[in-house]
Structure formats: structure tokens, C-alpha cells
Symmetry: D2
Subunit: 116 residues, 4 copies
Amino acid sequence: MDISQMQERIARFADERDWDQFHTPRNLLLALMGELGELAELLQWKTDEQVREALQESAGRQAIEEEVADVAIYLLRLAQVMDIDIPTAVETKTALNENKYPADRVRGSAKKYDEY
Amino acid sequence: MDISQMQERIARFADERDWDQFHTPRNLLLALMGELGELAELLQWKTDEQVREALQESAGRQAIEEEVADVAIYLLRLAQVMDIDIPTAVETKTALNENKYPADRVRGSAKKYDEY
Amino acid sequence: MDISQMQERIARFADERDWDQFHTPRNLLLALMGELGELAELLQWKTDEQVREALQESAGRQAIEEEVADVAIYLLRLAQVMDIDIPTAVETKTALNENKYPADRVRGSAKKYDEY
Amino acid sequence: MDISQMQERIARFADERDWDQFHTPRNLLLALMGELGELAELLQWKTDEQVREALQESAGRQAIEEEVADVAIYLLRLAQVMDIDIPTAVETKTALNENKYPADRVRGSAKKYDEY
């Protein structure tokens, strides 16, 4: 599925339940935050190594994938109700970032990465 | 661009700057939170009507689109480094939600929506 | 209880469980984000009027108070492990804000509030 | 300053600017999220060791203290407008947590900490 197909799927899900009425930008932003919080709960006490291990176990991976999906669902829906085309927005922003952070000036060190 | 093309674009951007080393799941989750916070700052004092107006003005729309793009960029990158296929995860989760919230039981009222 | 008494209480709770080892600033920040997400889930589909009603019902109020408490607990703990005195930090920042937003220039309209 | 004194200070700041009208629970929650995002931006690419170093430098510490203060300010204000007494809520929730996580059952390992 591409992005617009996922958005159609999510819109149909909401429409069949008459939940469109709740999907204002501010409500969806709070919902997105709720889902990001659930993802944080899965990673909050783990080291990077433990995150890697969790992703290699079936139950650990599934739990993380579900939360990433929930974050994605609300982001796709938020973009849809605000009539924002995600690929165009990402392309435009990445081009801006390429100008803002020239590769030869910012390459490599955490320090530089941090300051820019 | 589809999702994997956007992810390739973002990966190349990081790679050219030798920033892959910073893109651990936990770091990217904090970065995603930072960008979601910037989006929140744009909507925090606005009514739903004022959000709609902001999206109709060129400067307002551009500011919101940039923050939505930043959230999308870090989500795409996070999924990539955790080797999660977003369309599959979204499809799986939406199917789960369809079972969890049968349309004929939850249709319509905010109250029902809330309790489920 | 004042702030340092609450912090002692929370520190003792963590100490008795040997959980201090997990209470790094980054971990606590993710935990704070998780709790803020839970609070968001309670308010995400509600109008301002419905939030007011929820706060007047015993179960609604209790649920919200528990999430506010969780956010407060992790913020108090985060400040403690970073050796930040919250009253001093709040006083310093409020004084900065008073200079940044002179009352006679920013008074009243949402528009002005937004721009500053 | 104790909590109610900080809240009075923050309320006076808002009142002098006629900003009370914007301080609904949902708006303040979005503002809290914005400030938590700014704190995340300061820690997102740092290791635990680099966070420690940042807290030992004057500029690094000041930046972090300001963001912690902003998070605290909005949390104090949010509790105030919802008429929630933070010390009571924290005490109640900590007592609940003590029952939920008996020290002798959950002591020590990250694994146990995680599962509870």
C-alpha cells in the first residue's frame, strides 16, 4: 500500500464508525502523542542493546510494531484532515535540510551534529 | 514518492553526513518527540476554527507542513532502523482495530468512542 | 508535602526497589513522555466542556489525577537526578518571561499571545 | 517557594497578560508537550555521559534548567486550572505504586522492572 491507500483505509475505518467528527487536527495531535507515549513506554528502561534484543524476539517485535503502526495511523490521518501531502512535504523539508546542513561542514562528530 | 523511496532519501541524507551513528531507536524517538512538540506549539493556543484559518494562509500552512514533515521524517527513519515495514504494520493494526471496535457497536457518539 | 519531601518519598520508593540504576535523565524523559501520553489519552476526544464534566465526576477526576501525579512524579525525579532545584528554576524562568513578554505589549488577544 | 506559591506566581503572570482565557486543560497539555519536546531536543543525540557533561557546563546546565522550568510551569498551571493538589495526588499515587510493586518482588533487575 502506498500512503494514499493507507489513508483511504484509515478514513474508511473512521467513516464506518462515524468517528470523523472527532478527527480534528488538535484531537489527532493529542492521540498521536498518546501513541508516541505508548511507544516510549516500551523503550524507556531499555539500553540500545536491549532494544535490539526486543526487536529480535517475536513478542517484543510485535509490541513495538503495533505502537509504531498506531503512531503512523494518526500521523497519516492528521495529514489527511489537514490536506497535507506527506511525500511532497517530506521532499520539500529534506531539500531545506540539505541546504541548512551542508554535508562537508557537519560531517561526523556528535558535537557538530548537535550544534547544527 | 512511496514510503521506501522517502526512506532511501532520508537514509542518504544521514549517510552523507555520517549521522547514522546517532540514529538509534531511542535517539530517534526523542527526536520524534521534539518535532511533535514543535507541531504542538503551532496549535496549542488555537481553536479548531483558528487552525483551519492558519491552514488557509500561506505562511501558516507552510509552518504546519514543515513540522508534519519533520515528524514524518523521524517516524520513517525510526521504522527503517528497526526494520519495520510501515504499510504492513498499519494494515495489521487496522485489521486488529476493526475486530476490536465493531462498527455497529461503536458507531457515532463521543461517549462510545471514548469508552472503547 | 513540599517539593523536596515529595522527591525524598519518590527516591525512597526507587531505592527500596533498586531502581535507581534505571533513573538516568534520558530514561526518565521517556517515562515522562509515556505518562504525558496517558494524560493525553484521557483528554484527546473531549471538548473543553467534556473535560470540565469529567473533572466533576469521581471516576473521571480520579483517572486524570492519577495521570497528573505520574507526570509530576517523573518530573520531580528527573529534576532530582539532574540536581535541578525546581522552585529556583521556575522563579528564574518566570522572571525571564516577564521581561520577554511585557504585560502592556502582549495583553489580551490570542493573536498577540501567539506571535510572542 | 512551595507549590502553591509557584502557582500563584504563574497565575499572576497569566492574569497580568489576560492570558487566562487560553489556559484550558487541553491547551496547557499541548503547551506542556511543546516544552517536553524542547527538553527532548537537548538530550536526543547525547549519551548518558554527554548529558552528565552538559549538566556540568554552565551553558549546558542553564539550557536544560530552562526547559525543565517550562515543563514544570505548565504542569503547575495545568494542575491549578483542573483544581488538582499535586502533593496529595503524588502521595496517593505513590501509595498505589507501593502496593502494585512490592519491593521484595520487583527488586533489582531491569527485566523485572520492565514486566511490572
